[in-house]
């Protein structure tokens, strides 16, 4: 005999009676030991079963066992009156093992018609956190928090505690907790049950600049205070809220502070109790919102988009000028403009201005002239008229042409042409007539 290497358990498989789908032989006793990895259980589903039917499955049968425990003894088929057919329901093993034993006797009057069975099995993950471990009545798997994983589970602890080396129990340890999610829940160790005495916990809520942390304490707040002539003071027990560049705030008593808007992206909470007294502790939900920037205002001859009721960190706004106007910033024309609300609550660029465009000095016309009919400084919508130096030149087409300063900064005629007109010479028409100089006949 050779020692075979232990093969890795399968995650699924198939089991069939001997010679299936041909009729099974008599005098048979065959056993299958199925297993899947630890942390999984086996789900067995029959696709077909046709075993000689008998009351209590006396002659031929298939037995399904989990260890010594019989999960089922089956025979017959879907239509037989006798026997015990599993139907469509799968059989779920409590653990990662399952045994099938198929037994047949030596007399089988309908042998030709009984083909046995066919089934498949698959591994199903066990949710150890919600299911009681088989045969274990020692209590919850984890001291505080149980996380199911495929084939296993993990224990973890609330803030203020750390996981013991047994990977199941939690011991008090509440320094150095950093919370950088946008929202979350914090509470003192053991809350709402009184924790051990003389604890010193620190909670740091730290988000990137541009976000503001708000603390919302639950009503159930109890930190021992000491009454003095000046009123209650947080002498031995306290929760200190520290925001950068501001004086720390010590909280105690039985009145919940409610909502505290810190106006900071970083908040440090230090919870301290001494050897005496009684503090049940506190809990809070923290949330964050983005820093707000001032409303950008309006722009003459332009518009700001999008129009929002309020603008927050990382919001962008864009400025577009009305047709015929251009974006100007610091005396320079810019092609486009956008600005972002910064983490400090200021826009990273001030708003530009919209100045009216101009088409430049209209091109001069050979043997003609250009006159302004309306507008000034060659500005948008100014109208000029090109005319020829009459009576010596006449416009091609015989009409003077008006050009308007268009939004694309070109002078265009009413016919949408931006080519200058042509002045053609006038021939044979002296300005002074010979006949007018002499009246003699």
């Amino acid at each position: 005999c050779w020692l075979l290497p232990r093969s890795k358990p399968l995650m699924y498989g198939e089991v069939q009676s001997p010679e299936y789908p041909q009729p099974y032989p008599p005098n048979l006793e065959q056993r299958w030991d199925l297993s899947v990895p630890d942390g999984y259980q086996i789900q067995l589903t029959f696709t077909h079963m046709d075993i000689e039917a008998s009351a209590s499955c006396y002659y031929d049968f298939l037995t399904v066992l989990y260890g010594e425990r019989v999960l089922g003894r089956f025979c017959g088929n879907e239509n037989s009156a006798d026997g015990h057919h599993p139907g469509d329901q799968p059989i779920l093993s409590p653990g990662n093992r399952l045994t099938l034993i198929f037994k047949t006797d030596n007399s089988n009057p309908e042998r030709q018609n009984n083909v046995g069975f066919s089934a498949y099995y698959q591994a199903i993950d066990i949710d150890e956190c919600s299911a009681a471990t088989p045969g274990d009545s020692s209590g919850p798997l984890c001291d505080q928090i149980c996380l199911n994983t495929l084939g296993s589970f993990l224990c973890t602890c609330h803030h203020g505690y750390k996981l013991h080396s047994d990977q199941r129990t939690c011991t008090l340890s509440c320094v150095g907790g950093v919370f950088n999610e946008a929202e979350g829940t914090l509470f003192s160790p053991g809350y709402p049950v009184s924790p051990p005495h003389a604890i010193s916990c620190q909670y740091i809520i730290s988000l990137q600049p541009g976000f503001i942390v708000s603390l919302n304490f639950s009503d159930n707040f109890q930190i021992e205070s000491v009454d003095t002539e000046q009123g209650p003071v947080c002498l031995y027990h306290w929760l200190q809220v520290t925001v950068p560049d501001r004086d720390p705030m010590k909280l105690c008593g039985t009145t919940s502070p409610g909502v505290i808007v810190t106006n900071s992206n970083t908040v440090t909470l230090d919870y301290h109790t001494d050897d005496d007294g009684l503090s049940r502790g506190w809990s809070l939900e923290y949330s964050t919102h983005r820093v707000r920037c001032p409303l950008p205002g309006s722009i003459a001859k332009g518009r700001v988009t999008p129009i929002l009721a309020a603008y927050f960190y990382r919001d962008y706004i864009y400025v577009r000028c009305d047709q015929g106007y251009k974006l100007m910033m610091d005396g320079e024309e810019i092609e486009s403009f956008s600005t972002m609300c910064q983490s400090n609550g200021h826009w990273h660029l001030p708003l530009p201005e919209c100045h009216i465009i101009d088409c430049g000095k209209p091109e001069s016309l050979l043997n003609g002239k250009v006159d302004f009919l309306s507008g000034s400084d060659n500005q948008y919508h100014s109208v000029v008229q090109y005319s020829c130096n009459e009576p010596f030149y006449a416009p091609l087409g015989h009409e003077n042409v008006n050009y308007t300063c268009d939004a694309d900064r070109k002078w265009r005629s009413d016919n949408n042409i931006h080519v200058l007109p042509t002045c053609l010479p006038v021939c044979g028409r002296p300005t002074r007539s010979l006949s007018s100089t002499s009246y003699q006949r």
């Binding site: 021939c427 044979g428 002296p430």
Partner: protein, 247 residues
């Protein structure tokens, strides 16, 4: 001009004085083009160098002429061949100026003949020039631009006139062709003359003058029964336009 009058300023703004070792005339037809008679430019044989051609325009008094305009090129009609001095057929030429002229009251082009140009006998035309004029019974070379109105003469009448001259023994008379027409009055005393060659014979139609003829040749000036002969411009419109376009 015989029997004419002095032209006031700006009344014949197409008049050009073309001087090539002698006085001749021309007419402005475009802002860089002068039309004249071929013989004005080839009076002494081959076309002269452009530098020796002086062009003046815009003045009616030769004594106040400004700096002449520079000539870019000369284009003699290819059919002009007057080696014997008696063949004025195709007596037409173009002068291209180096610089563009801006038109004004004193300088304006004369229109080329309209497509349906007709030379009806009796139609009055106006011929002008700085050529020989009359003062009493004397012929003098004037410095003032002169003009005279004379009618188009029937081509057959004109032809007979020159035939009669030949019968009288004067064989040195040029041939009258269909590229020429005559203008003048039978009683004489109104005519173009030497120095007017190349100038325009202009017909006014609908208050607009067009170039009907170019002063070309004649036998004596202003004599009774003799007419002046003019190059018939209408026959050359295609050549004129082609030459200007190609150059």
């Amino acid at each position: 001009i015989i029997g004419g009058s002095s032209a006031p300023a700006d009344t014949i703004p197409w008049q050009v004085l073309v001087n090539v070792n002698g006085r001749g005339g021309g007419m402005v037809i475009a802002d860089r083009w002068i039309m004249t008679a071929a013989h004005v430019l080839t009076r002494y044989g081959d076309p002269p160098p452009t530098s020796s051609v002086q062009i003046h325009m815009g003045r009616t008094d030769i004594q106040t002429l400004p700096t002449p305009l520079s000539v870019a090129s000369i284009h003699i009609h290819p059919g002009y061949n007057n080696s014997d001095g008696l063949n004025y057929n195709n007596d037409i030429a173009l002068i291209k100026l180096q610089e563009v002229v801006t038109f004004r009251a004193s300088i304006m082009p004369l229109c080329l003949p309209p497509q349906d140009a007709a030379y009806h006998t009796g139609t009055m035309g106006m011929v002008s020039g700085f050529g020989i004029t009359d003062e009493g019974n004397k012929r003098i070379l004037t410095n003032m631009l002169k003009y005279v109105h004379i009618p188009v003469v029937d081509q057959q009448v004109c032809s007979q006139t020159f035939a009669k001259m030949k019968q009288q023994g004067n064989n040195l008379i040029p041939h009258l062709t269909d590229n020429m027409f005559c203008a003048g009055v039978p009683e004489g005393k109104k005519d173009s003359c030497q120095g007017d060659s190349g100038s325009a014979y202009a017909i006014e139609e609908n208050s607009q003058f067009w170039a009907a003829g170019i002063v070309s040749w004649g036998v004596e000036c202003g004599k009774k029964g003799k007419y002046g002969v003019y190059t018939k411009v209408a026959n050359y419109v295609d050549w004129v336009q082609k030459t200007m376009q190609e150059n």
